[in-house]
């Protein structure tokens, strides 16, 4: 005969305004097995909790139901209170009288009756609760950072500096990401590479960081504190332990006309290549798609020129298995190409380029060594037009969101252009200028007032070529309301920032959710911006949404702190609400008949085979066994098991059955 204590909270007026809490307490008091029932103004307050603790001791309660706000709110509070009074915390249940009752119904008997039913339901459950102990899982104190852009670099350094091991993987041959492609950065116009490259080197030299470039995540299994990551090390075809990075091979490679990814297609590279001079590691890989040898089976000039014999032709991809405790995803973003814009010529006009391409033109390390020259004929454009929101904020283009960084970099581009081409004329077509950020608005004003960039508020309808000029047809919606037509030499589209290619597949590999645009979803838009809904996996940078460098770096450090916080404990304490396979007397040992259909049903591969052996060591039967580390407690297996041999603690068959019955049998 159980002794349940029931505590009905008024939540100030929040519950008592529509629910007759006193009556609820009285009625519940009459329920069989309820030893003590009382209502109180604020159960979560100190005196409220004391009330519960005292009752537990005084009445030797073996179960507690608190009728209050949602368990998602105060379940931990009250369970803690119970524990402090010596009652196993898992013998405490919460009836949701506020969110699910008092707040959604008018004051009436029906509302009070519902409240009574809800509490009764939980009383019946608690009667069948079992004392449970939290599960402790050891944490592997090693982090995996995916993506070597500024976000990944920052996160890796911050984690490494707390003394923990970090594995940083980058799919390209060098770390650096988009930031390494930028020329100057707003709002200070300091050189992007000048501030980035020292960080890149630091990563390469940090004792706690293991860097794998040209590597991708193959698969991810496990759970917070205990992930098993399989990493694919793509074959570089160059043994970096032997390669000195002398670069002789680069000179000799006959394949010279391959569009360079680093220069956003404006420059070219060789088949054996280092993406850019400051690359880390500064050693080449062979791009097998374009290499003569891999294409036609002959060439091998690089091998001939290599002084250290570092070329490995038949090197194959390697799969590396690493145990890690936490993961920071920093895979960044991408920009739409000009071919995304029919109205601007389907990308067929050479001198219509993306913002990223302009960065390369403006960059001292770029194909034009920092001179703004037209891709088509190399002349210096005298008239240039920048089109902001190219794709962004455009439902029709399927990209309703704001790419956030374009307003600022467009202003920067115009400014850089004016600085480099003094007699040049620049026009910016914009929807709104979104310059939220420290010194951002001032920066834009400077472009307009000091560098005399001509800002036109309006959209561009068409861009078409006519005798070597690009005719930009737009409208000035601000003052004149007139159509404007500009004969430009060059047009720069601030194309929309979009999720990086492969983001969707990566998300599925890691079981993190993503938004309709394939940006990874944070656990909470405000309060958990760096967490994902998969514990132990964190986000930083533009893979979550387009963002600028300072924001990215901030987020990366945030993620790093989350990881460090996790690593500050030796093991992870998890709720014991997991599935278990029953045991019974020999010769059955368990009612499980070992059909193992539950194995296919389990989303976490948490179900293993266990051989039950007799004294003679012979296998008597093989039954299912739940790995408490892997089981997340969804209970799919429970509903699936025909013989009801597997059950889930805290939501057991008996408990759920009793709840349903109690709701109705009157």
């Amino acid at each position: 005969m159980s002794k349940i204590g029931v505590f009905i909270c008024h939540c100030g007026e929040n519950i008592s305004a529509t629910v007759d809490c006193e009556k609820v307490a009285q009625e519940i008091g009459k329920v069989e097995g309820v030893e003590y029932a009382i209502d109180y103004k604020y159960m979560c307050s100190d005196p409220g909790q004391t009330l519960i603790k005292d009752a537990i001791k005084e009445h030797h309660l073996d179960g507690v139901v608190v009728g209050s706000c949602s368990p998602r709110m105060h379940e931990p509070t009250f369970r803690k209170a119970c524990a402090e009074a010596g009652l196993n915390p898992y013998l405490c249940e919460i009836a949701n009288l506020r969110e699910h009752c008092s707040w959604v119904h008018e004051k009436s008997d029906a509302t009070t009756d519902k409240a009574i039913d809800l509490v009764k339901m939980l009383v019946e459950k608690v009667k069948r609760n079992k004392p449970l102990d939290a599960i402790k899982v050891p944490i592997t104190k090693k982090a995996l950072v995916i993506g070597g852009g500024i976000a990944g670099i920052q996160a890796s350094l911050d984690i490494a500096n707390t003394g923990h091991q970090v594995i940083l993987i980058e799919k390209d041959p060098s770390i650096g990401g988009h930031m390494s492609q930028l020329s100057e950065t707003f709002p200070t116009l300091d050189c992007s590479q000048c501030i980035l490259t020292p960080r890149m080197v630091e990563v390469a030299q940090h004792p706690n960081i293991t860097l794998y470039t040209y590597a991708e995540l193959e698969s991810l299994e496990g759970f917070i504190g205990n992930f098993t990551a399989k990493i694919r090390l793509k074959a570089k075809s160059v043994d970096h332990s032997k390669c000195t990075g002398c670069g002789a091979c680069l000179q000799k490679c006959p394949q010279k006309r391959i569009p360079s990814e680093f220069n956003a297609g404006l420059g070219t590279r060789t088949a054996i290549y280092v993406p850019f001079p400051q690359a880390v590691p500064n050693k080449p890989v062979i791009d097998r798609e374009h290499c003569n040898y891999y294409k036609r089976g002959k060439c091998k000039i690089c091998e001939a020129t290599c002084p250290t014999g570092a070329i490995e032709w038949d090197k194959e991809d390697q799969i590396l298995t690493e145990q890690v405790g936490a993961i920071v995803v920093t895979t960044g973003f991408n920009v739409k190409g000009t071919d995304f814009f029919p109205e601007y010529g389907y990308g067929q006009y050479k001198d219509v380029i993306t913002g990223l391409q302009f960065e390369r033109l403006a960059s001292a390390s770029g194909p034009t060594l920092g001179e703004i020259r037209r891709p088509s004929d190399g002349t210096i454009p005298k008239k240039i037009v920048f089109i902001a929101c190219a794709g962004s904020r455009d439902e029709a283009k399927g990209i309703p969101y704001c790419s956030k960084i374009c307003c600022m970099y467009t202003a920067k581009h115009a400014m850089l252009y004016q600085h480099k081409v003094h007699d040049g004329e620049s026009t910016v077509f914009y929807m709104d200028i979104r310059a939220g950020g420290k010194n951002y608005e001032e920066f834009v004003r400077r472009a307009i007032e000091e560098d005399h960039v001509n800002y036109v508020r309006g959209r561009v309808a068409r861009v078409y070529e006519k005798n070597g000029k690009l005719i930009v047809k737009g409208v000035d919606t601000l003052l004149s309301g007139q159509q404007v037509e500009i004969e430009a030499d060059m047009v720069v589209l601030a194309t929309a920032g979009v999720a990086n290619c492969g983001a969707e597949q990566l998300a599925q590999k890691m079981h993190v959710s993503y938004d309709p645009y394939h940006f990874f979803a944070e656990a909470h838009p405000k309060l958990k911006p760096v967490e994902t809904n998969t514990a132990g996996i964190f986000l930083a940078g533009a893979c979550q949404a387009p963002k600028d460098i300072p924001e990215t770096v901030g987020m990366a450090s945030g993620a790093a702190v989350k990881v460090a916080g996790l690593f500050s404990n030796n093991d992870l304490v998890r709720e014991p609400l997991i599935a278990v396979v029953n045991r019974c007397a020999p010769p059955q040992f368990s009612t499980c008949v070992g059909c193992f259909m539950c194995q296919t049903a389990c989303p976490y591969n948490a179900i293993e085979r266990e051989e039950i052996k007799g004294r003679d060591g012979k296998v008597i039967k093989t039954v299912a066994k739940v790995n408490p580390g892997l089981c997340q407690g969804c209970g799919t297996c429970v509903a699936f098991c025909r013989s009801k041999s597997i059950d889930i603690q805290g939501y057991s068959n008996e408990q759920m059955f009793a709840e349903v019955m109690s709701l109705l049998n009157h």
Partner: protein, 279 residues
């Protein structure tokens, strides 16, 4: 090869030569056109901006007739009619609208009729035939002008590329012509304002002619009666807006093909043009 045929008012009136040329080349290409019996206005009048039910019911009746007459596919040379019919078929996917309209026209309507424009007809059924039958290659530099009704709303018509379409250019290449790359393929010609605001038509069509001439096109090829009449019939008014008057002729694609197939200018109604055709 049998295809249903909806001429519409223009082809029976101001743009008879379009009708003549369509019929003529269809014959030459062994395509049998079966005109929908008892057809009515497609509603590309004030109707579609004034009264939705009317603007849907008129085309719906045409479609219902075609279905009733056992046609599976109907070619609609007039871009405006083509636009109205396809848009209507799209609108009537909405059950409520469909019920309302069928109730008005008192006819059954399934909506599975295939509606195609002249270009679609040619590229699906005539490419090879044309290739083999070209006797007098149409060896001229021409500007293919698509106008608006043939392409937009792209989401619904699903025909060609919304900017810088290609299908007519392909046709022209097929008959030995050289389509130029130009900017006004889909710009507005002034359309229905032809009568009420001739001045606007003059200005807009003017821009089109200007660009075409400047890129030294010898002719403009169209697939829309409205465009043709604006560019052709309004040439006088247009030339007043131009610094240097233009005399380049405006062909229907069907006429150009007709010539290439060796049909006589007369059969193709070329003598009906305002800007006389000398190539």
């Amino acid at each position: 090869m049998k295809i249903g045929f909806y001429p519409g008012c223009s082809l029976k009136g101001s743009s008879r030569e379009y009708n003549e040329s369509v019929v003529a080349i269809a014959k030459a290409l062994d395509i049998e056109l079966v005109e929908i019996k008892d057809w009515n206005c497609c509603g590309a009048t004030a109707a579609h901006s004034m009264n939705e039910e009317l603007s849907l019911s008129l085309p719906a009746r045409i479609l219902a007739l075609a279905e009733a007459q056992g046609l599976k596919e109907v070619v609609v040379p007039c871009a405006a009619c083509y636009n109205r019919l396809v848009v209507t078929q799209h609108e009537l996917k909405d059950t409520n609208k469909r019920e309302r309209v069928t109730d008005i026209i008192k006819m059954s309507y399934s909506g599975d009729l295939k509606i195609i424009n002249v270009l679609q007809m040619l590229e699906t059924y005539a490419v090879d035939k044309i290739k083999e039958k070209v006797t007098k290659p149409f060896a001229h530099k021409v500007a293919c002008y698509y106008g608006c009704l043939l392409i937009r709303p792209h989401k619904i018509l699903q025909f060609d590329r919304v900017e810088d379409p290609q299908s007519m250019d392909a046709m022209v290449k097929l008959i030995g012509g050289t389509p130029i790359d130009w900017a006004f393929k889909t710009e507005c010609c002034g359309a229905g304002l032809s009568v009420s605001r001739t001045d606007l038509v003059a200005k807009l069509s003017g821009n089109i002619l200007k660009d075409a001439t400047e890129r030294d096109a010898q002719a403009i090829i169209v697939a829309c009666p409205m465009c043709q009449s604006n560019l052709d019939m309004r040439r006088g008014a247009i030339n007043e807006t131009l610094s240097k008057p233009s005399d380049i002729p405006v062909f229907f694609i069907t006429q150009a093909i007709g010539l290439a197939l060796g049909l006589s200018p007369k059969e193709l109604g070329l003598e009906r043009h305002f800007v006389n055709v000398k190539l």
